[in-house]
């Protein structure tokens, strides 16, 4: 049986621990409320940053910026 410490380490680093450990991890999560809470917190972090970026991104006019960039690149001829 893997410990909470190992479980949280695998979850946070996101590295694949291999089939055997993956099974143990699942079993551990089924039985351990603290690690399940930890896992859900990591999910909340993902949602949190995605939402933050989305809110800020709405303040940028994408099409306008893209047009500006396209014009700039076309004007900026290669230095040959």
């Amino acid at each position: 049986m893997i410990s909470c410490r190992e479980t949280s380490g695998i979850l946070a680093s996101g590295t694949d621990p291999g089939l055997w450990k993956r099974l143990q991890l699942r079993l551990h999560l089924m039985m351990c409320d603290a690690c399940s809470a930890y896992k859900r917190q990591l999910g909340a972090l993902r949602k949190g940053i995605r939402k933050l970026v989305e809110t800020e991104s709405a303040k940028i006019s994408g099409a306008e910026l893209e047009n500006q960039i396209i014009i700039k690149i076309r004007e900026h001829k290669r230095p040959l």
Partner: protein, 197 residues
């Protein structure tokens, strides 16, 4: 052909080198939003993120003649973004958290590896983040490499291989970066939500 495959095609890369108008337009329309999103996640405000994306594109097309297509154009673009963001950040001087996250995590567990005190209720944790201000503050405390790894993973859904190429780190290193970023954020947020004791 899906865009991602099209952009890896030799003929497409050739047309980029020639600065073919169509090729420029397709690429810019596909990736500018991704670049600004990554820049926002890295802590730039909307104006600065737009400027940074412009800079990235100029550099990209300056370098395009020598681009061999060994990595995907997307990886190449994010690599330029990361390096430019590092330069800008050096000028701005963020105040980073100086806590040793490994030690903080060590102290979370008893000798048998069990939680000494369980993580906060995830519902409450998620609710505390709703305004975005708390997570923003905690993100600002992350060292840039950790923050970028976290953003590329969570916002851009980058693969391990791609993020490793952008940051020029091994897969093991990336695991360490994500471990630290996520735990730092988690600890920082819990601390703020619990308030002064």
């Amino acid at each position: 052909m899906a865009n991602r495959e099209l952009f890896a095609d030799r003929r497409f890369i050739e047309s980029l080198r020639r600065r073919d108008n169509d090729a420029i337009e397709r690429l810019v329309r596909e990736y500018t939003r991704h670049l600004t999103n990554a820049a926002l996640g890295m802590g730039f405000d909307p104006n600065a993120a737009g400027e940074l994306a412009q800079d990235v594109w100029i550099t990209f097309f300056e370098k395009a003649p020598s681009f061999e297509g060994r990595s995907h154009v997307r990886t190449f673009l994010f690599g330029i973004l990361y390096n430019k963001a590092l330069e800008k950040r050096r000028e701005r001087r963020f105040s980073e958290l100086d806590d040793n996250i490994e030690a903080v995590m060590d102290a979370r567990f008893d000798p048998r590896g069990r939680w000494l005190s369980p993580p906060m209720d995830p519902e409450r944790f998620a609710m505390g983040m709703e305004t975005g201000r708390m997570i923003e503050k905690c993100l600002d405390g992350l060292p840039p490499q950790q923050r970028t790894a976290f953003v590329l993973k969570e916002v851009e859904d980058g693969s391990t291989e791609e993020i490793c190429n952008i940051l020029e780190v091994s897969a093991t290193n990336l695991g360490v970066l994500l471990f630290r970023a996520r735990n730092r954020l988690r600890e920082c947020l819990e601390k703020q939500m619990e308030g002064p004791k």
